[in-house]
C-alpha cells in the first residue's frame, strides 16, 4: 500500500504538504515539528542520516529540512547524494545548521542545497524558508 493513498489517509492528507526533518538531535526535530505543525504541514522526523533515502521513498516529502553536523553521514554529503539521485533531485533541500560562516553557506550551495537556515533560528525564519517550497 502506498502511503500517499487517499484510501488510507483521506483527501486532506494529500493536500497537506509534507516536510521531512533530518536531525540527529531528537529535541531539534521536536522543536521544528512544533514550529511547523501550527502551519498545517505534515511532518516526518528522522534522527539517522543513513535512512534519508528510505524515508524519502516511503514518505515522498515536498521539502527536506536537513541538519549538517551529524554522525556517520553529514548533511552536505546527504544533500550532494540526493541532488545526484535521479528520483530525488527535484525535492527542495533546506540546510538547517549551526555552521554559519559564508564559506559554509557557499559550500552548501555547491552541494545543491535550495535553502540555508542557520541555528539558532526564529520560527519566522524557518517558516519563510519552508514556504518558498511548500
Amino acid at each position: 500500500m502506498h502511503l500517499w493513498s487517499a484510501e488510507k489517509y483521506g483527501v486532506m492528507s494529500m493536500l497537506l504538504k509534507k516536510v521531512l526533518i533530518v536531525d540527529d538531535s531528537p529535541s531539534q526535530v521536536k522543536l521544528i515539528q512544533g514550529f511547523l505543525e501550527h502551519e498545517g504541514y505534515r511532518l516526518v522526523g528522522i534522527n539517522d542520516p543513513e535512512r534519508v533515502e528510505e524515508a524519502i521513498a516511503l514518505e515522498r516529502p515536498s521539502v527536506i529540512l536537513l541538519d549538517v553536523v551529524m554522525p556517520k553521514r553529514n548533511g552536505f554529503q546527504v544533500c550532494r547524494e540526493l541532488k545526484n539521485h535521479v528520483d530525488y533531485n527535484a525535492i527542495p533541500v533546506i540546510l538547517v545548521t549551526s555552521k554559519n560562516t559564508e564559506s559554509d553557506r557557499f559550500w552548501g550551495q555547491q552541494q545543491g542545497a535550495d535553502g540555508y537556515v542557520t541555528k539558532p533560528f526564529t520560527r519566522e525564519e524557518l517558516l519563510r524558508a519552508v514556504r518558498r517550497f511548500a
Partner: protein, 227 residues
Amino acid sequence: MRNASVLILSDEPEFARLLTACWQAERHAPGITVLSSDLWKDHEATPHDLVVVGPVLESKLPGILQSLEPAAAVILCVPAESRELGQLRTRYPRLVHIPLREDWAQTLLLVAGESLRRAEALRLSKQAERRAAKNEHQATLGRYMMDMKHSVNNALTSMLGNAELLLLEPGQLSSQSLAQIKTIHSMALRINEVMQRFSSLSSEMREAENASQAETETEPASPGSRR
C-alpha cells in the same frame, strides 16, 4: 642567509687578521668576534654559529675545548696529532681539523661556508618545527572552538525555539510564567549575540587591520615629498 656569527679564538693576531680579511672579501661575510684565549672565559656564554680555534697558548687549548658545547660547530686550526683528533671528534662530532698549510685560509673559508649553511638550515628547520607546533596548537584550539560553537548554537536553538513556542499561546500561561519565559528568551538572544560576536571576531580583526593599513597608505605625504 641571516647574518651568521663566527668566533675566532687565537693568540696570534696575524691569524685572526688574515682570516677576517679573507672573510670580509666574501659576498656574505658573517659577524666576526675575535678573542684571545685570556678573554675566552668571559665570553663563553654567547652562542656562535661557528667557532674557529686558531693557534693559542698550548696550556689554554684543553680548557677552551672543554668549555665548548659538544654540539658546537668547531674548526680547529692548530697542529694536532691524529690520535688527539680522534678523541676530540668523539666529543665534538661537528669538529673539523684544518692543518696550517699554505692554503689553510681558503680551505677554512670553504669549510666554514658549508658549516654556516648547515647551521642556517638547522635554524630554519627548528623555526619551521616551532611554527608547525604553534599552528597545530592553534588548529586544535580552532577545532575545539568550532565544536563548542556547534553545541552552544544547538542548545540556543532549543532554548529560543521552545520559549518562542510557549509564547505563541500566552493565554495558557500565568503572568509570572509568561514573564519568566520572556526573560529566558531575551537572555538566550543575548547569548546568541555574544556568540555571533565571537564568530565575527576574526573578520572584525581583519577589517580593522585593513582599515588601519588603508589609513597608513592614504596619509598625506610630507611637504618635502610633494611633487
